[in-house]
């Protein structure tokens, strides 16, 4: 059965069945990733262009490796030093890239909705690899994959996301994805980092970390960016770490088998103490590995032959 979506622009348009299909396929992809010879011909002759209008190493490399394992030709296109810095519009850039006949454009952009604009103007598949503070669907999918791998199912589980939700596309995609898979979501952080009306996406909002993580099956810590200091959303990273950072002492508040996730890159000593990041609760490196498997599944569903998607 062909995948019902031409693009992957966010979690919002996906049904639970769509999400489970991606995660199921990612399970097979992870098996491929762990082989000695990590190569299958599923996307041979296909071209994937990673268009990164905002810098990223981890996500771009993850998509690139995913494409290459599937035998697609992967090209990295970065906006710095390109036509964009010469004033080319996003629509023009997209149409020029499309003229090179790619099968998939993987788009990261600092403006929310930019991948949607690209998708409305090109004929190939578009994958949103992070747009402003809107969505980062492949991240939420790899997080869900990581949790499902441990738990079998997310149904009835409780996940607490801690940090700068206002500026976080990871948080938005995760709230949507976790809800669709039957989990409950709590958000925690200073009220300055909570966007108004976020509850409408399906979550409870806390400012007290201890209460927020009480009974949680997993805690996802978001990266705190120093740039936000200028916006007065918090006074110092020291105070943030004391109140909302996860220290070894505070892990006593967690359930014994609670999992700790982080989308990376970690600000060690701010949102996570080093001992916690590397400690027994942490599944952070699993997330990175699973990211490749999930992105293989996404590329295969969007660009593979229908029979390859089965």
């Amino acid at each position: 059965m062909p995948f019902a979506h031409q693009h992957l622009l966010g979690i919002e348009p996906l049904s639970r069945a769509d999400i489970e299909r991606i995660l199921d396929l990612a399970t097979s992809m992870k098996e491929v990733l762990r082989r000695d010879i990590k190569k299958v011909p599923a996307l041979r002759g296909k071209t994937v262009i990673n268009c990164f209008f905002e810098s990223s190493t981890r996500t771009r490399s993850s998509f690139e490796i995913a494409a290459k394992i599937l035998s697609a030709d992967a090209v990295n296109w970065a906006s710095s030093g390109s036509s964009v810095s010469k004033g080319e519009s996003l629509v023009d850039t997209a149409r020029n890239l499309e003229a090179m006949r790619p099968d998939v454009l993987v788009v990261r952009h600092a403006s929310a909705g930019a991948p949607h604009l690209v998708a409305s103007r090109v004929g190939c598949a578009v994958v949103n690899a992070g747009d402003g503070a809107h969505e980062h669907p492949s991240q939420a999918l790899l997080d869900a994959f990581t949790l499902r791998e441990r738990w079998g199912s997310l149904e009835g589980r409780l996940v607490t996301i801690v940090g700068d939700v206002r500026h976080s596309r990871v948080a938005r995609s995760n709230v949507l994805c976790l809800n669709r898979l039957g989990a409950r979501v709590r958000l925690c952080g200073p009220p300055t980092m909570m966007p108004p009306g976020i509850e409408a996406l399906g979550c409870e909002v806390f400012s007290d970390l201890r209460k927020a993580v009480d009974g949680a099956d997993a805690v996802m810590m978001l990266r705190i960016q120093n740039e936000r200091l200028a916006e007065s959303v918090f006074p110092t990273t020291r105070e943030y770490a004391r109140v909302w950072g996860l220290s070894a002492a505070k892990t006593a508040w967690l359930k014994d088998d609670a999992l700790i996730l982080h989308p990376g890159p970690i600000n060690r000593g701010v949102e996570l103490e080093p001992d916690v990041a590397d400690g027994p609760h942490s599944v952070i490196l699993d997330q990175v590995e699973n990211g490749v498997a999930v992105r293989m599944a996404i590329l295969l569903l969007l660009a593979g032959a229908p029979e390859a998607q089965a």
Partner: protein, 439 residues
């Protein structure tokens, strides 16, 4: 120009004139740019006159739009004074007030005269210039308001930008009163707005877009109402969009302060849900707000808190609009859809027909002390003939304006101007059957 104006007879239309309270079928004779007779039956003689059959149509005082951006000088690729004045006429407007945020800014008498000259050559609606409050609209020093008044401005405004410095705002209100000028304001506390590109709330949060809260507008309206009380200067709140701003203006009027306000068709019709899909046709400043705000604006129009419907007609080209939402320019066109959207308020039971007509004619005329806004014997012949039932699909490709970006594209609306008469001259006439056509 009135010396050459021909004789016209508007025959048997439903005259709706809020000033005199007339709402009935009349025959209106026009000669030499002046209304010479208003009669309940056909005039005795129609010799040498062009008779326009207005049966089944409404005849209204010429519509007045206090708030349009005509982009000339400087951005003629978006609009010119000529195309804007003709678009206004096609929308039924007989007069518009051109905002001064052009390139360069209209902050001196020379540029005011340029706008006046271009406006009188345009052959459309009358174009009244406005002048900047501050030199270059930089919010630092007052512009030469007296000189600009002598050259023809009808108000001062830094529209597009707020006057952030409250002390400058105080001086502007004081100084402008010497020249009997209203200060029109764009109310947005830029610190609170925080670079927001849409209304702050659940929709912005879902879309991951930075929002500007109602408080950014409310706080500035409250500030300026107090400055109005302090100085006694006339204050006009441009494109008011929040429930808080409506409340503040209502309270100011109850105190007897010289405060007036306008609201746009998009703010009384649409909510911030229109942004979903990152639609840059729904991006303007102030942004589209919540349902509660839309309801409050409608209530303000009904109870007279809001004096005028104004379009904030703000044409842009694809260069500014066919881009990422956050990067897109604020502003949409409105001249050619405002009348139909206002008539929808009557059909929705929000306004009576005479009140709606008042908000588009007499109300705005009074805000700035402009001529017109009423139909009287011996008065200037600025009139609009309207087919209130003409249904049309909004097709920006058929607009007279150069601007094409409107959130109402593709909507089916009812109500079109069929004849627009300025100073006794027919500056716009809709040809062919209006049914099913935008023009």
């Amino acid at each position: 120009m009135s010396s050459e104006a021909p004789k016209l007879i508007l025959a048997g239309g439903r005259l709706v004139d809020p000033a005199s309270g007339v709402d009935g079928v009349r025959w209106i004779s026009i000669d030499g740019g002046t209304i010479t007779a208003i009669e309940e039956g056909p005039p005795a003689s129609t010799d040498g006159a062009r008779v326009i059959d207005c049966a089944g149509k409404m005849v209204l005082p010429g519509l007045i739009d206090l708030h349009v951006h005509l982009r000339e000088p400087g951005e003629e690729y978006k609009e010119t004074i000529a195309t804007g004045a003709r678009a206004a006429a096609a929308g039924g407007f007989t007069a518009v007030v051109a905002m001064p945020n052009t390139r360069p800014v209209v902050d001196n008498a020379h540029l005011v005269r340029f706008v006046v000259d271009k406006g009188s050559e345009a052959g459309g609606a009358r174009v009244y210039p406005s002048g900047a409050v501050s030199k270059g609209q930089e919010g630092k020093e007052l512009a030469e308001i007296g000189d600009m008044r002598a050259a023809g401005i009808v108000c001062i405004t830094d529209d597009g930008r707020p006057v952030m410095n409250p002390s400058l705002m105080r001086r502007a209100l004081e100084y402008a009163s010497a020249f009997d000028l209203t200060v029109m304001v764009h109310e947005e506390d830029l610190h609170l707005a925080g670079g927001g590109c849409m209304n702050e709330g659940p929709v912005a949060t879902r879309l991951g877009l930075r929002g500007s809260p109602n408080a950014a507008e409310d706080a500035m309206v409250l500030r300026d109402v107090e400055l109005c009380a302090l100085t006694g200067g006339r204050l006009h709140i441009g494109h008011l969009s929040t429930a808080g701003a409506v409340r503040a203006v209502r309270e100011a009027k109850r105190r007897g302060l010289p405060v007036t306000a306008e609201a746009t068709p998009h703010h009384f019709t649409l909510t911030d849900e229109a942004v979903v899909g990152y639609d840059t046709r729904a991006k303007m400043c102030p942004p589209l707000r919540s349902r509660a705000d839309v309801d409050a604006v409608r209530e303000g129009l009904a109870d007279g808190t809001i004096d005028a419907i104004a379009t904030d007609h703000a044409p842009h080209s694809p260069v500014e609009k066919d881009v990422e939402f956050e990067k897109a320019a604020n502003g949409i066109v409105g001249l050619e859809t405002a009348l139909a959207l206002s008539l929808a308020l009557v059909r929705d039971g929000v306004l009576t027909l005479p009140r709606m007509v008042e908000r588009l004619s007499l109300g705005p005329a009074r805000c700035f002390g402009l001529p017109g806004g009423q139909i009287e014997r011996g008065g200037v012949a600025d009139l609009t003939v309207v087919d209130a039932d003409a249904e049309f699909r909004v097709d920006p490709g058929s607009f007279v304006s150069k601007g094409r970006y409107t959130p109402f594209e593709g909507w089916t609306l009812r109500g079109l101007a069929t004849h627009t008469i300025v100073g006794g001259r027919l500056v716009f006439e809709r040809h062919g059957k209006s049914e099913g056509s935008g023009r």
